[in-house]
């Protein structure tokens, strides 16, 4: 059914669109999707994550929002911090809720649809160049049907003073919605930017959000990128982020998965120059019957780069966590340092963890380690706290907070750290 919905959506789109280079790309992407279909568990990359439930649901891909988004956002993090705000509701740019406070006119913070005509040259130079559609059904789907998303261009030597907040709200008050947000971020030489990507949902029907992000970091630039998934209820979320780093760049990424029925994060780094630093941090706390799947891949294509990855999970109820971290050290990428760790705490008998830390190394002068642990809360620290008169549930929270703190301390926005702490409090 999803497949038919997509087909209708694409035909509708084709009827409306004028012929341009862009629509040719969409056509190509659609054919790729048609050829591949939704990934099944036979596909090694989707071994533990089954999308069958999606295939049997009807989704609307263009629909208006009837919920009161403004009221919904009143108490959200968005309104607590000073930031540039880009708000999208069901894939459509919402100018009323968005706000750009950046004063420098050479920095473009806008929506993709607008950028396509206003900044066509930059757009055409970068769009679709990093996120591959070949053999990737969901990327193809996004490219074929994408509606809108954020467009950020930071020119050489510029720094965006305040963080850029990209908020996506899926409003399923009336029907099941299918959203295809697409963000394109270009950070030129020696520039710097701080991005926060946030996902919310409204309404009681199903939501399927299929995101593609392309982030290009030119030489000597610095990017902070946080991705927070807070879509509640029947929400299915697939995120593909491709970060392309040129020489001497620093990219710090944090993924927080706080909610969602099925969340799949694909985070890909490609280190295309020497002396790059890439940091990947993630925290997931699935509960109920939720499934969180983090697939990361770091391609060390050039020598002398560092990457460090730490993903932590607290598993409750009947939740399932999947982690697949792949480090590829290409031929001649000597002096690579790549570290990777995945740690899980199981709080329930029925939770499941499937983890696969994977290394593929084609160069000899490298230092690569990976590790994975799965266990319960340590008894000894628990005993220590209990023996000092701290009740069990308080002690448990303290220990779990400490466990999550390794990730929380990487976040440079105090308000966000606070939100995370509240979430942990709420969940336990």
């Amino acid at each position: 059914m999803l497949i038919e919905n997509i087909k209708t959506a694409f035909t509708q789109y084709k009827d409306q669109a004028e012929v341009s280079g862009f629509s040719a790309l969409r056509e190509q992407a659609y054919h790729e999707f048609e050829k591949l279909g939704l990934p099944t568990t036979k596909n090694e990359e989707w071994k533990y994550t089954n999308l069958k439930v999606l295939a049997n649901t009807n989704f609307e891909s263009t629909c208006l929002s009837s919920g009161n988004v403004k009221a919904f956002l009143q108490n959200a993090l968005l309104n607590k911090i000073t930031a540039n705000k880009l708000v999208f509701v069901n894939g459509t740019f919402n100018a009323e809720l968005s706000e750009i406070i950046e004063k420098d006119n050479s920095i473009y913070i806008t929506n993709l649809a607008k950028a396509r005509s206003l900044h066509a040259e930059i757009f055409n130079q970068h769009f679709g160049k990093y996120a591959n559609i070949e053999n990737n059904a969901l990327n193809s789907l996004n490219t074929a049907l994408l509606s809108d998303g954020a467009f950020v261009y930071v020119p050489t030597n510029k720094t965006v003073e305040f963080p850029i907040f990209i908020v996506n709200i899926a409003d399923s008050s009336d029907v099941n919605v299918l959203n295809q947000p697409r963000n394109l971020i270009i950070v030129e030489k020696s520039a710097s930017v701080h991005l926060i990507e946030m996902y919310y949902s409204l309404g009681s029907n199903s939501v399927f959000t299929n995101v593609v992000n392309e982030i290009y970091a030119n030489e000597n630039s610095h990017v902070e990128h946080y991705k927070i998934q807070q879509q509640e209820g029947e929400s299915y979320h697939n995120n593909f982020t491709q970060i392309f780093q040129e020489a001497n760049t620093n990219v710090n990424h944090v993924t927080l998965t706080l909610d969602g029925t099925l969340v799949r994060n694909n985070l890909h780094f490609y280190l295309n120059g020497q002396n790059c630093n890439s940091l990947l941090y993630g925290l997931y706390m699935p509960h109920g019957n939720c499934l969180v799947d983090n697939h990361t891949r770091v391609d060390h294509a050039q020598p002398n780069c560092n990457s460090n990855e730490l993903y932590k999970g607290i598993m409750m109820d009947k939740s399932v966590a999947v982690f697949n971290g792949k480090i590829m050290v290409h031929l001649d990428a000597q002096k690579t340092n790549a570290y990777q760790r995945n740690q899980n705490i199981l709080l329930s008998d029925e939770a499941t963890v499937n983890t696969k830390p994977q290394l593929e190394i084609f160069a000899d002068d490298v230092k690569c380690t990976h590790g994975a642990t799965i266990g319960q809360l340590d008894e000894e620290p628990m005993f220590y706290l209990r023996s000092r008169g701290i009740p069990e549930d308080v002690a448990r929270k303290m220990l779990l907070n400490a466990f999550a703190d390794d990730i929380a301390e990487k976040i440079k926005i105090p308000e966000l750290v606070k939100l995370l702490e509240e979430e942990i409090e709420k969940k336990l």
């Binding site: 963890v353 799965i374 319960q376």
Partner: protein
């Protein structure tokens, strides 16, 4: 160390000859080339097998026909033409042998050359050997002495006649023919192999050993080993193998099944040195083996130790099914690849019983243009309370054209499980070499020391006789290869 020196040393290693590459000129009886139901029947009738065995083989063969060659491995495999293989080859020797005197002297010489003594006078070595030449078990030593203790150690074809009830009960119980492509093929055409039964409460008085040799051209070797350790028993089993140098790739698809009853312990050690092919990757053995042990009873233990230095492609995952409560599975592996060799190996630890423990130590060393992959699964089932696993897989890279890969799968369904996985990849540090040089130890020797130290945890697990052989093998395969 300068680059040129480094290149020199690597060249030396690359040019290292395979010393078991001779072939024996002996009269052979072979089946016609190719695979069909007739061939399966031919093999079965050659062995005078009971009807049920033939039925089982045919079922396996028909099942195999429905399968496709697997393609998930981390290397390119040219499609194998299964009609180009001779599935049965045996030295022409029809009379049943009573003593070693009747064995073809040419054959005895071959084994002498390989450093395996079949003559029972050499009791000092204290190892009972079952020698398998191409498809047929040639001789089993120390048989009588073992029989006194109640230990059955013989060729599986013999066991089929003498202990049909045991074979019928256990064959295919751990590795059913439906398990995978190569296990189905093996079940259909297996020619011989070893059979071991250790009765209740018996500690096998000596190491048991099988020596496999592929000699004939164009043949495949498909042996099957079945080891059953009854309650409270212990056995240590060794396996070694070599093959002549030939330009074609030869297929070796064996199946090993281990069954450990209550409080029994099986230790299975392999030193695999099949012909690895020449330096351009021409020829060599495809070593596609299914090895699996089942800890049936409580407190049982199965331990796999392997030293893999040979074969063009090694593709195997010796596994443990931990069914009994408090059972233990262990896997110790050293895989060394050189030139264009490929190793895709690892283990599966399936925790089913409560309080089960497993330990995995895997050391991969890749040199030249070779690729070494560790692929493993640790699975803790829902009811496997308090399962414990520790996995360590380290890789060492020698030369900048080699590759090391790890694919560890960890699937945990129980919160009381404690699972740890660590892995690292490194090369021999210049400072380590410098340290040795400084103390008057030459670079070559230093490399040997460091590699041996790197593998020590695994080599320590080998029985004495094999530890020495394995250390020598490592030295030969890697002599001074690092700078």
């Amino acid at each position: 160390m300068s680059d040129t020196q480094e290149v020199d040393i690597i060249d030396q290693v690359v040019s290292q000859e395979y010393k078991y590459g001779f072939s024996t000129d002996i009269e052979m009886e072979t089946a016609p080339m190719g695979l069909s139901e007739d061939i399966v029947r031919f093999i079965s009738s050659k062995k005078n097998e009971p009807e049920w065995m033939l039925e089982w083989r045919l079922k396996a063969y028909r099942y195999w026909l429905t399968l496709e060659e697997p393609n998930w491995q981390n290397f390119d495999l040219k499609p194998i033409n299964y009609q180009d293989i001779i599935y049965y080859a045996a030295p022409k020797e029809k009379i049943k042998l009573d003593s070693l005197d009747q064995v073809d002297p040419e054959l005895l010489k071959t084994f002498e050359k390989l450093g395996i003594s079949l003559s029972e006078q050499k009791r000092l070595s204290g190892v009972a050997v079952d020698a398998v030449f191409d498809s047929v078990s040639i001789a089993t030593t120390f048989k009588d002495q073992l029989y006194e203790k109640g230990v059955i150690f013989c060729a599986i074809s013999e066991a089929l006649h003498e202990h049909p009830e045991l074979v019928k009960k256990y064959i295919g119980s751990v590795v059913p023919y439906t398990d995978n492509y190569f296990s189905a093929l093996n079940a259909a055409v297996f020619s011989d192999g070893s059979f071991v039964y250790i009765p209740k409460g018996v500690r096998c008085p000596m190491e048991l050993s099988t020596y496999f040799r592929i000699n004939a051209e164009n043949t495949g070797q498909f042996e099957r080993t079945l080891i059953i350790a009854d309650d409270n028993s212990y056995v240590s089993y060794l396996e070694g193998c070599t093959a002549p140098m030939r330009d074609e790739n030869q297929l070796h698809a064996a199946v090993v099944e281990l069954i450990a009853m209550e409080k029994a312990e099986i230790k299975y050690s392999t030193v695999q040195n099949w012909y690895p092919g020449d330096k351009d990757g021409k020829g060599g053995i495809y070593n596609f083996v299914t090895k699996r042990g089942s800890c049936e009873g409580a407190h049982s233990k199965i331990s796999w130790t392997q030293v893999e230095t040979g074969s063009a492609i090694t593709w195997k995952y010796p596994s443990c099914i931990l069914k009994g409560d408090y059972s233990t599975g262990e896997f110790f592996s050293v895989a060394v690849t050189n030139n264009r060799q490929i190793a895709d190996t690892g283990t599966k630890m399936i925790h089913i019983g409560k309080h089960t423990k497993s330990r995995i130590v895997s050391k991969g060393i890749s040199a030249g243009k070779s690729h070494n992959s560790y692929r493993g699964l640790v699975k803790v089932n829902k009811r496997a309370e308090n399962a414990r696993n520790h996995t360590q897989c380290d890789s060492m890279l020698i030369g900048d054209r080699s590759g090391a890969h790890t694919f560890p799968y960890i699937e945990i369904n129980n919160k009381t499980a404690q699972v740890e996985h660590e892995a690292s990849t490194s090369k021999i540090g210049e400072d380590q070499i410098f340290y040795c040089n400084q103390r008057g130890i030459g670079t070559e020797e230093a490399v040997g020391l460091i590699v041996n130290g790197f593998c020590k945890e695994v080599l320590n697990q080998l029985p004495m006789e094999f530890a020495v052989e394995a250390q020598k093998l490592l030295a030969v395969s890697l002599e001074g290869s690092v700078g």
